[in-house]
């Protein structure tokens, strides 16, 4: 038994060594960039002391976790991270697929290209610039919305950066605005690849436009939608740091609706200097995110095995 495994292994190497060699370069990078720092996860169980270093610092058991979950913060950051991502995934997918289908309907090639080009522009812009844009719209005394929209309507100006209420909507809109162009291109690329014959057959069967969409287009997109969603679910415990930190200008009164695990970890490190607790939050993020992906992947494996990630 052992021998055959070894034999299989050497045979594989002998036969496929060029492929392994190719992969080795990227794997080496991942090992350095991603795996080596993982040793630092041990900090979640320690009271960090720089003089003693990562390895020499004293273990304090689960104290960092204990305290993290005693605070209200643990609940808020978990809720925010998951809820925002869930909304981003659902709305983002619906909207991007819609745009892709409609784009496919546009007959003029020029218009098609123009629309595609322009809708991708928000995706090109750094989140720092987006926060400048948001500020131009939302600034209390001279922002566009207060001075050019609300004032002419006779409405009082809103102090956006201290009013948490509208922020979930604002953040969802910004995320949608920034991201839909890109994901609709991916769906569009898949759409173009759907065999024309299916549509022709559908038309011969007398299918309406809507029936073509539901019976040919959407099934054709299924694989891509599943893959994209699965990848997003895998990241459901991670948030776009810039979106939740820069765009609300790190404004305190908004923390209840803008604090996510990533911003919490960042603040824990940079403002509070509590490496133990920040690492505990990071560990929690990785662990739960991992469990969620395993679960999602298992489900997908059952439904459509060819779309499973591994």
């Amino acid at each position: 038994m052992e021998k055959t495994v070894w034999q299989r292994f050497t045979r594989a190497i002998r036969k496929f060594w060029p492929l392994y060699l190719m992969a080795a370069l990227g794997l080496l990078y991942l090992f350095i960039n991603n795996y080596m720092p993982m040793a630092g996860l041990v900090l979640a169980f320690k009271q960090y002391n720089a003089r003693k270093g990562i390895w020499g610092s004293d273990f304090n058991g689960l104290k960092n976790f204990e305290f993290l979950f005693k605070t209200r913060d643990a609940w808020i950051i978990t809720r925010n991270t998951i809820a925002y991502n869930a909304v981003f995934i659902v709305l983002g997918t619906i909207f991007s697929v819609t745009v892709a289908i409609l784009l496919n309907e546009v007959r003029s090639a020029k218009a098609k290209k123009l629309y595609q080009t322009v809708t991708l522009i928000p995706y090109m812009v750094s989140i720092v610039v987006v926060s400048y844009l948001a500020n131009a719209l939302l600034a209390t005394d001279n922002g566009f919305i207060n001075t050019q929209v609300l004032a002419p309507l006779g409405q009082d100006p809103v102090a956006w950066y201290t009013t948490p209420g509208p922020w979930p909507v604002i953040l969802v809109l910004i995320n949608l605005w920034k991201g839909f162009g890109y994901s609709s291109i991916i769906y569009f690329a898949t759409l173009v690849g759907i065999n024309r014959e299916y549509y022709e057959a559908a038309v011969i069967d007398g299918a309406s436009w809507w029936q073509q969409v539901t019976h040919v287009t959407l099934p054709g997109l299924k694989n891509t939608i599943i893959t994209m969603t699965l990848l997003s679910v895998g990241r459901i415990f991670y948030s776009d740091f810039g979106l939740f930190y820069q765009v609300p200008m790190n404004s305190g009164p908004l923390y209840d609706v803008t604090n996510t695990i990533d911003t919490y970890v960042y603040r824990g490190l940079m403002q509070n200097n509590n490496i133990g607790m920040a690492s505990a939050a990071g560990f929690y993020q990785s662990l739960v995110g991992f469990a969620l992906v395993l679960a999602a992947n298992t489900i997908v494996k059952k439904i459509s095995p060819e779309n499973a990630l591994y």
Binding site: A23, N33, P37, T119, I185, A189
Partner: protein, 293 residues
Amino acid sequence: MVEKNKGLQGAIHIFFILLTLLCVVPFLLLIIASITSESALIHDGYSFFPKEFSADAYRFLLLDSGSIVKGYGISALVTVVGTLCNMTLTTLLAYPLSRQNLPGRNIIAFVVFFTMLFNGGLVPSYMMWTQIFHIKNTIAALLVPNLMLSAFNVIMMRSYFTSNIPDAVIDAARIDGASEIRTLIQVVLPMSVPILATLALLAGLGYWNDWLNGLYYISDNNLYSIQVLLYQMLTKADFLKSSAASALPVNISLPSTGIRMAVAVLGTVPMLLVYPFFQRYLVRGIVIGAVKG
């Protein structure tokens, strides 16, 4: 699709015109704000039709054009070199993963995928890069950490290879006696232009828009990229003051709002200028790739 009625076409065009406006108009506001006089910005607010235009912000930036030009240089260099490295690593990793008959490919795929889920956090990464690899205040600090390979892109490229490159094509190449690397370069890659274009654009964006690596690993202002300059201005308005304010006569106030808008415009425009050229290949690539695949 066949038999499209005119009403539907009209409705779709209206939808897309509104959508494109939504994508462009905020930038218009940004650009107009950068040429609005500071007092109009402060008193009347941001507007598409400002009462008073002024090129002060740009004139002011000219006084300190050195750091902007340098920032452009750094950003451009990092974007070009970084994208090339990123694409090389991504392709070399995705291709073996796409080969159905490669023993152990599932293990490798999991190793790649796993990096999307777990990370060691900022402090251990920082320790490693600065103390083992000594990249602090070198151009490598802007190139290497985090941006050079993303598991997400590897998975996307692998999926593309799997679904668009028939095994028969690869087998045929092997029968012709081509080595693996030659098969990849001469057969697979030419068939994969769309995904290459898309991922190159993504990688390029990642590099052009990155400011976190600059924030953590760079303190030498000869290595400030345009985004780091922008971030510094956002967090510390005095940054401007120390770099150029005293060059102004004292009684003229610093057009700080306008300047920030101007720098934001300068940080965005190059990508927007390059992108349409890219887009041409991108769209054509997608169609060709789809037809061939």
